[in-house]
Symmetry: C2
Subunit: 243 residues, 2 copies
DNA sequence: CGAGGTCTTGACCTCCCTCAAGCCTTGTGG
DNA sequence: CCACAAGGCTTGAGGGAGGTCAAGACCTCG
């Protein structure tokens, strides 16, 4: 098997990565990017069902999803799990442990994935040369906090149909931003995982999908979803408080 | 009116502040602390009902609660509010905007308060001299993310009694850590605000308080709460999944 | 091709929301 | 300092959204 590219080309990952705009949306000079390249371990494969890390694992690295789809879950004391998020290409996983000693959630691959590993210690020392990096991580973390607050609003105030509509629209928007179709997509997670994330039972998820289909809002074929009436879905959200 | 202390004494706030262990639990040298003192505006009063900042206000500073009690809220599109947290002395508010341009929530004083203001730009430049500061903010933010994930678990998995028990135990623990009584305290927030935070209606909050009282778990007199049976309250949480 | 996981649908039930009425607390102005 | 208003709290009755249990269909992957 011959190598098509010389090693130094293969090594230059961030500069050539189409996801750079998502991972590192900061104006880095070319030599700064290659500094980053030096410390990032690229394209680590993670098989479907495998954990990227688990709760209480020592925190060493952040991970950028390159291809594939992850869920993060936290476990309650009695062992039940709450899905806290779904993560697709260009998104960083592990921010909940940044600066701490141990991971606070478990990240599981929902399909065969590739990730880039960003070792935190090296990132931290690189931050001395590239101040924008620190600012960038502040921004990523605050965005994560805001996202979580949005989920709290969803869980605290919305009814089942509104939750599922919000979920579908969010997926659609994120897929669209990555150049995929925003109106038709394949769900990587089960009804149970959707339900766990949205605070409802899998039967309710299934029923609500069916109702949306009956109402002509979407088409459902197992995990294949087609959004048929975006305005109506968005409409569902405008009155998103329970009272 | 005479000044009891010379100005340079008054200025030395962090070093003499009893909350330092909570705000800045990092081993800072004395001269580092006085560098911090230079940039921190101390003891800003905020009257009950007033906003420390509002959603979309430009982000300039973090705030450390010195005395008093705050709530943070986010507003849904149609104007209903979700309480995302309650904040007491020694806790930092504004992390959801750190690194960003604008605040993502509104912080309201639930009683007359005093806060210390930490201007972000000056904090950032100070971080070049004190590397531990950056690490500290990473830690604070990741802790906030973990806290939010805990709330997601609560909202997604728990029933009314479990939510309220979790809420009371959390308050108790935080008050205890500050040297206040952990078994008897005065609620600063209304039933409606508790309900908003916990994803239930104020009537359900009230009913659940009454039930806890009937069961001998707590004593309720308006906003005055006494925890009477801590083990039983904790017991409620051990089976904290709905299924 | 068969087994196990996943999904759908139905029937029933429960928890919590809704609406309503009245009481209590707090703050303000006379 | 008292009276009253307005907000906050409690409690009851009734109903509905979604949970629970169950049965069967449908994938999908070894």
């Amino acid at each position: 098997m011959t190598t098509l590219f010389p090693a130094h080309e293969l090594k230059n990952i961030c500069a050539g990565c189409s996801l750079r705009e998502l991972c590192l949306p900061i104006g880095l000079e070319h030599d700064e990017l290659s500094q980053l390249d030096q410390i990032i371990k690229q394209r680590i494969p993670v098989k479907r069902g495998e954990a990227l890390f688990r709760t209480d694992d020592p925190f060493r690295s952040l991970y950028a999803v390159r291809t594939g789809f992850f869920k993060t879950v936290v476990l309650s004391e009695d062992g039940r799990e709450q899905v806290t998020g779904f993560h697709m290409s260009g998104e960083l996983i592990g921010l909940d442990a940044l600066g701490g000693e141990r991971h606070a959630c478990t990240a599981i691959a929902l399909e065969d994935c590739e990730v880039c590993e960003l070792p935190f210690e090296q990132l931290e020392s690189l931050s001395k040369d590239i101040p924008a990096l620190t600012r960038h991580f502040y921004k990523l973390m605050s965005r994560e906090i805001v996202r979580d607050q949005g989920v709290m609003l969803l869980l605290g105030n919305m009814r089942a149909e509104e939750r599922l509509a919000a979920f579908l629209l969010n997926l659609s928007q994120r897929l669209g931003a990555r150049g995929f179709s925003s109106s038709g997509f394949h769900l990587r997670m089960t009804r149970e995982e959707i339900g766990s994330f949205l605070g409802m039972k899998l039967e309710t998820v299934s029923r609500t999908f069916s109702k949306f289909q009956t109402d002509g809002l979407i088409a459902v074929q197992g995990k294949q979803i087609t959004l048929r009436d975006l305005p109506a879905l968005k409409q569902l959200l405008s009155g998103c408080a329970r009272n």
